[in-house]
Structures are given as structure tokens and as C-alpha cells.
């Protein structure tokens, strides 16, 4: 009886080790800092675009995955105020004045190649997959979510991100900030 129990236990441990051969990760993280400076009326009117401010390189081993993004601030959905330069205007700036464009050669299923408004991380925008368990999409179809790596298939596992800010003219002059989170997560 003791021998049987030991064999069963060892089998479970081995099973557990075998199952842990899965991983999802971003490679070569750069975590860049961005600064939008609005110092002319043209910039206010037309907005500022910072192209390719980050490249997301996905490594997914043995599992499907989702990719989403959102903003993190003290007050959900509103920029943090570093300092105000004046008294007139509204300092509650929604994070949706920021727009992102996430793209690679095969494209993302959720956002395509157009700009979309950012939201708080509590209600993120999915570029790949969804909050539910998704059907498998193989490379190089749009919205690839199966295991793979940017090293062998960059057209499906590498994403460039552009960021655009269009604040308009109604907000209070000042310095504002937020954090943008990109989350790569196992699709369960």
C-alpha cells in the first residue's frame, strides 16, 4: 500500500512539472517614458503623434494568449495632475484623449490599424483575444493567439505601438501624467 501511494504521488508531481512548461512573456522590455509638449496652437488643434514608441515582443510557450492595454491613474479614467500652470479651465482630463494604434504585419483582431481611445485598466482594450476563452487563431491570420515567438514569426508576435494625444483647448494648462500598461496573459 505504501509503495502504491508513493508511485501515485510521484506521478502527480511529474504531471505537475510537465504542465508548468508553459509561459507567456514580453521579451526585451524597454518601458519608455513619453512626454507630449503642447506649446503651439497647431499642436493643440491637430494633436501630437509619437510613432512606434514601444515594440511589444511576445514569447508564448505551450499556451494561447491574450494581449490588452489600459491606463493606471489615481482616479480611475482621469489623468493625474502633476502641477497646474493657471486657474482657468478644467483639470479633469479623461484618459480617452489618448489614442493608440497597435499593429503588425498580420494585424490585430480587435483594433485593426486605426487609432482607438484608451481606457482605464479595469476596462481594458483587447488587441488580441478577449476576456473569455477564445478560439485558436494560427499565424499569420489576423489576431494570432496560439503559442509562438517573435524571433521566428515577428509578423504575428511583434507589435508596434503609436500614441496620439489630442487634448483640445478646454483643459487647464499644466503637467499631467499616467501609466500605460500592456498585459500579456494566458488565454484560459
Amino acid at each position: 500500500m505504501k509503495k502504491t501511494a508513493l508511485i501515485l504521488t510521484l506521478s502527480l508531481v511529474l504531471l505537475n512539472l510537465a504542465a508548468s512548461g508553459q509561459s507567456v512573456s514580453f521579451a526585451l522590455k524597454t518601458s519608455p517614458n513619453l512626454n507630449f509638449v503642447f506649446d503651439s496652437i497647431d499642436k493643440y488643434n491637430k494633436g501630437i503623434v509619437i510613432p512606434s514608441f514601444v515594440t511589444l515582443k511576445v514569447d508564448a510557450v505551450g499556451t494561447e494568449w491574450d494581449l490588452y492595454m489600459g491606463t493606471t491613474t489615481t482616479a480611475s479614467g482621469l489623468f493625474d495632475v502633476n502641477t497646474s500652470y493657471g486657474t482657468s479651465g478644467n483639470s479633469s482630463i479623461p484618459v480617452s484623449i489618448l489614442q493608440a494604434r497597435v499593429y503588425n504585419a498580420s494585424g490585430t483582431s480587435q483594433t485593426g490599424t486605426s487609432f482607438f481611445n484608451l481606457t482605464d485598466i479595469a476596462t481594458p482594450v483587447y488587441m488580441i483575444g478577449s476576456a473569455a476563452n477564445d478560439a485558436s487563431v494560427n499565424c499569420a491570420s489576423s489576431g494570432t493567439n496560439v503559442a509562438g515567438s517573435y524571433t521566428t514569426q515577428p509578423q504575428c508576435y511583434s507589435f508596434k505601438v503609436d500614441l496620439k494625444a489630442t487634448p483640445g483647448l478646454t483643459y487647464k494648462a499644466g503637467s499631467y501624467s499616467l501609466r500605460i500598461d500592456f498585459v500579456l496573459i494566458q488565454d484560459l
Binding site: M1, A5, L8, T9, L12, V13, L15, N16, A19, Q22, S23, V24, S25, F26, K29, S31, P32, N33, L34, N35, F36, V37, F38, D39, S40, I41, Y44, N45, V54, L56, T63, T72, F79, N82, Y85, G86, T87, S88, G89, L98, L163, A165, L169, T170, K172, A173, G174, S175, Y176, S177, L178, R179, I180, D181, F182, V183, L184, I185, Q186, L188
Partner: protein
């Protein structure tokens, strides 16, 4: 000394078996429970610097010439329509006001020996095509004398209640300033056209002026100039 019966021995064996099964189940539970959802994160900090901008653009030749060469010119005066065009681009609440940089016109040349050479700035009448929507205060909604520096109350570029406003007025309360906006998108509030009028009369007493000419009461023939200041300020 108590000897166990066969039944009791069987019960103990059953209990031991159950313990082992529970131990295995517990281990299995731990093993399956350790499968947390895998994830990784990348992040970026974004700073946005919104600088206050006030742009006042004069879109035409800033020099305006009045030449009085005939009796009708003196009697009826000369009106220069749409002579100055101003565009305002602002990211903050703003006021726009005007005044003469001196109290009197500056005489460059005298063409006669009679009459006064001291002509108050107020002989120049100014009208803005866009009526000032901030009620109360002094404005240019119709032809009015442009105040000289002292009468305008402007000191070191700061207006007072006596100052004449094209947009907004003194004070920071609601409706006492114009909202941020660009001239291109808001032509009815951020674009201005200015008319000028000079009416000397005969003799050249400038009857419409709010400040009377000094002795002998009429202007000396000559060449004069006056500098008009348009100031765009944040409504503080």
C-alpha cells in the same frame, strides 16, 4: 490488556486507507491549485505638458493713413472699414482690450502756425464688428473715442475698470472672459474686424471726441501719428 476483535481491526484498516486517500486528494488539490494564470506586463509612463497659449495675430498691414485734403473730408470725416483684422488663439480664458500708447497724438510736421498741436488720443473713434458679449464695462460695440493711456487706466499692461475691452471685461467671474478656442474654429468669437473714424469738422474741433481740444479749440494743420495697442491677456 484489551485485545482487538477482527471487526475493530477491519475498522482501523479502513480508517487508515481513508487517511491515505484524503492525503492523496489533498496533494492533488495542491498540485492543481498551483496553476495560476500566466501573465507578463510591459508599461510606459506618459507625461503631458499643456502650456498656456495666447496668440494675437494681426492679419493685415498695421499702418492706417487718414489724409484730409478736401472740405467734405473735414466735414463728414473719413471712415476706414475693416482696417484691422485680429485673430485670437487661446488655450486659457482671455480678455482683449485696446488703448492708445500715449495721451496725445504725436505731431511730426506742422503746416500752419494757428491751432493747437496737442490732439488727444480720443479724437480717434473705433468700432469692433464683433460686439463684446461680456455685459457691462467699456467696449467698442459702436464708434467710441479710443482712450489715451492715462484715461484707459492701463498701467504696466494691466487693465482696470476704465479700460475699453473688445472681448471680456475686468474681473474673473463667469461671463467676464472669453473661453479658450482658436480663430479658425470660432470665427464669431475669436476673429475681430476694426473700423476707424476721424471726423475733424470745420474748424477741426473733433466734436465726437470725449476729450476737448485745448486753446484755441481747433487743431493745427500738420502731420500726426498715434499708436494703438491691442492687448490679449489671460483672465486672471
Amino acid at each position: 490488556m484489551h485485545f482487538l476483535s477482527n471487526k475493530e481491526l477491519n475498522d482501523i484498516n479502513q480508517i487508515n486507507k481513508m487517511k491515505k486517500i484524503f492525503t492523496l486528494l489533498a496533494f492533488f488539490g495542491i498540485a492543481t491549485g498551483s496553476y495560476a494564470q500566466l501573465s507578463d506586463q510591459e508599461y510606459s509612463y506618459v507625461t503631458m505638458d499643456l502650456q498656456g497659449i495666447l496668440n494675437l495675430t494681426m492679419t493685415n498691414d498695421p499702418t492706417v493713413n487718414f489724409s484730409f485734403k478736401s472740405i467734405p473730408d473735414y466735414q463728414q470725416g473719413i471712415v476706414k472699414y475693416n482696417t484691422t483684422r485680429l485673430d485670437v488663439d487661446a488655450t486659457v480664458a482671455w480678455d482683449l482690450f485696446a488703448y492708445a500708447s500715449t495721451d496725445n497724438w504725436v505731431q511730426v510736421d506742422a503746416y500752419s502756425t494757428t491751432g493747437t498741436a496737442t490732439l488727444p488720443a480720443e479724437i480717434l473713434e473705433v468700432q469692433s464688428v464683433r460686439a463684446n458679449t461680456s455685459a457691462g464695462g467699456n467696449n467698442f460695440n459702436s464708434f467710441v473715442s479710443l482712450k489715451g493711456l492715462t484715461n484707459s487706466g492701463v498701467a504696466a499692461g494691466v487693465p482696470t475698470a476704465a479700460t475699453q475691452f473688445l472681448a471680456g471685461r475686468i474681473g474673473t467671474a463667469a461671463a467676464q472672459s472669453y473661453a479658450p478656442g482658436s480663430a479658425l474654429a470660432n470665427p464669431t468669437t475669436n476673429q475681430f474686424r476694426i473700423h476707424y473714424r476721424l471726423k475733424p469738422g470745420i474748424p477741426a474741433t473733433f466734436p465726437n471726441s470725449t476729450v476737448a481740444l485745448g486753446v484755441p479749440g481747433f487743431a493745427q494743420a500738420g502731420y500726426y501719428y498715434l499708436e494703438v495697442v491691442y492687448a490679449l491677456v489671460e483672465d486672471l
